[in-house]
């Protein structure tokens, strides 16, 4: 499966919800979509492109925005497909994929507690690896392991 084929198949259904389909090494492609179109896209990817297995869900903090990504696998094409969407940093939320792929449940719980992205209509969004009531999202860039020491960078004189 090629990125162009995927774009051709999904574009009429999703319209503006589909931002781009780019090549990504080792996968069938990388679909960028708008968070509003999440459920429609998930359903199309599972039912029309036949990606039945959701491998993982994760999120990245890019400071000015956050990215939520999904990796799905097709047993027919024997390929991975990478889905990603950008959500604003001040109110990061996206529709939960667990109604489409039940396996999203725990992966989304982890992404929520680590990066602070809320998954709407998630059946059971609570802490998984951190204790209940833990007030931080450890994988945010603002959560420092230690304050970096001032390191004087010198250039070597030749």
């Amino acid at each position: 499966m090629e990125p162009n084929d995927i774009a051709r198949q999904l574009a009429p259904k999703l319209g503006a919800g589909l931002v781009a389909v780019e090549p990504l090494p080792g996968t069938a492609g990388r679909i960028r979509f708008r968070p509003e179109a999440a459920l429609e896209l998930f359903r199309a990817v599972r039912d029309e492109l036949n990606f039945g297995h959701l491998s993982t869900v994760g999120a990245i903090d890019w400071v000015d925005h956050r990215e939520v990504f999904y990796v799905v696998w097709s047993d027919d094409a024997k390929q991975y497909l990478f889905l990603s969407t950008d959500v604003p940093a001040d109110k990061p939320h996206v529709e939960s994929a667990s109604s489409i792929w039940p396996s999203a449940n725990w992966h989304e719980r982890e992404a929520w507690e680590m990066v602070g992205v809320t998954f709407d209509h998630h059946p059971d969004l609570r802490h998984l690896l951190m204790p209940d009531g833990y007030a931080f999202h450890p994988l945010l860039r603002s959560f420092k392991l230690h304050e970096p020491e001032e390191l004087e960078v010198k250039t070597r004189r030749v």
């Binding site: 297995h53 449940n105 725990w106 994988l139």
Partner: protein, 378 residues
């Protein structure tokens, strides 16, 4: 009534808690509580140089350290645009397949002990030690190896390794029928394990269950075949499958996988004998080895132009499909590292294969899942 099985319970094999809702002896609902072993490996990785993350990978799964090193290295190499020499790829396969045998033997030992059979435990641990001895001979460590590097592996095999390895493989081949006699030949084992913890292929796919659990339901998905990495496309082996989807079927799949691993290893050892060569890529960028180089009496940060990129890799770990996603933002540390642990997904589906059985069935069923808490919590 809700009861806790764990965090200290003989069933758990690690530190986690299975909350079980029961009515008499029936299981009505389960709710696994994880996180007792969370060390924040993904967070710490963001603060380390690429080769320094390998140390953490060994601790990720303490019975399959090599598999996790391999997984991380593949995605880090893709993110950095580095290619290993062919001999290093075969050496990595050697590591991973021996590790698969070691991990499955550890599982065998622990699983049969859950069933109350004591002697197979001793035999399993005895044979696993032979594999660990091999690891020690070329990495110096038995569990935390730190052997693989971005661009290859640390060192070549010592002289006489292949003879020793063949001896171990012959020994293992002769032991597998004995394992089967101890378990499959035992009426107690069969009555305890048949038709227990059934999870059909359809539910496995929906709930993200992979590895021996998925293959025991008759589904032939193995990333070594479907999406070959390293040298697997040049090696001959079959994918182990079973049909019954119960605890016995998972036992059969793991036993067959060990036999196939032996088959792969014979080919790999032969290949390594006849193809000497470098094990680390030439012309590696200097910043890979030493981001901070001592010059004179002071440390200087070597300013380099790091390439940008992302790497996505997936391997068939002993427990199932493991996936790594490394984002390289052009700094000396990875910007984000995300790992997908197969056991994480397999436990998350526990409601599907535990509800409806009895409390006494929990140890064999969870034993057949092969839980490694290190990689679930990371």
């Amino acid at each position: 009534m809700w009861i806790n099985m764990g965090p200290q319970h003989p069933m758990t094999h690690g530190l986690w808690n299975l909350r079980v809702k029961i009515d008499g002896e029936m299981i009505l609902d389960v709710d696994p509580e994880m996180g007792y072993l969370h060390r924040g490996i993904e967070k710490i990785s963001e603060d380390r140089h690429y080769n320094e993350v390998i140390t953490l990978m060994d601790r990720c799964c303490y019975v399959a350290g090599f598999a996790w090193e391999h997984l991380y290295i593949l995605s880090a190499e893709e993110a950095l645009g580095v290619h290993p020499p062919e001999r290093a790829e075969y050496l990595r396969v050697l590591c991973e397949e021996f590790q698969r045998i070691g991990s499955h033997l550890m599982w065998y030992a622990a699983f049969v002990q859950d069933l109350g059979l004591m002697s197979p435990f001793l035999y399993g641990m005895r044979d696993r030690d032979l594999v660990l001895d091999l690891f020690q001979s070329y990495t110096g460590a038995r569990m935390t190896y730190e052997y693989m590097r971005v661009g290859g592996v640390r060192n070549d095999l010592p002289p006489g390794f292949s003879d020793q390895a063949r001896k171990v493989l012959d020994w293992l081949d002769a032991r597998f029928p004995e394992y089967d006699q101890l378990c499959l030949g035992s009426t107690i084992f069969r009555r305890r394990c048949d038709d227990l913890g059934v999870l059909k292929a359809r539910d496995c796919v929906a709930h993200g269950v992979t590895g021996p659990m998925l293959r025991s339901a008759g589904m032939k998905r193995d990333l070594r075949k479907d999406r070959p990495y390293s040298a697997y496309d040049r090696l001959e082996f079959d994918v182990a499958v079973a049909e019954a989807a119960d605890v016995t079927a998972r036992y059969l799949v793991r036993m067959e996988e060990m036999r196939q691993s032996v088959r792969i290893l014979r080919q790999v050892v032969d290949w390594l004998d006849h193809h000497p060569g470098p094990v680390l890529a030439d012309h590696l960028p200097r910043w890979l080895g030493a981001p901070y180089a001592p010059i004179g009496n002071e440390g200087y940060l070597l300013k380099r132009n790091y390439p940008k990129g992302v790497g996505l890799s997936a391997i068939e770990e002993p427990h199932g499909e493991a996936l790594a996603y490394v984002v390289n933002d052009g700094g000396e540390h990875p910007y984000r590292v995300k790992f997908r642990s197969p056991v994480f997904a397999n436990i998350s589906a526990s409601r599907q294969y535990l509800v409806g059985y009895h409390v006494a069935d929990i140890p064999p069923i969870m034993g057949s899942v092969d839980v490694c808490v290190g990689e679930v919590d990371r």
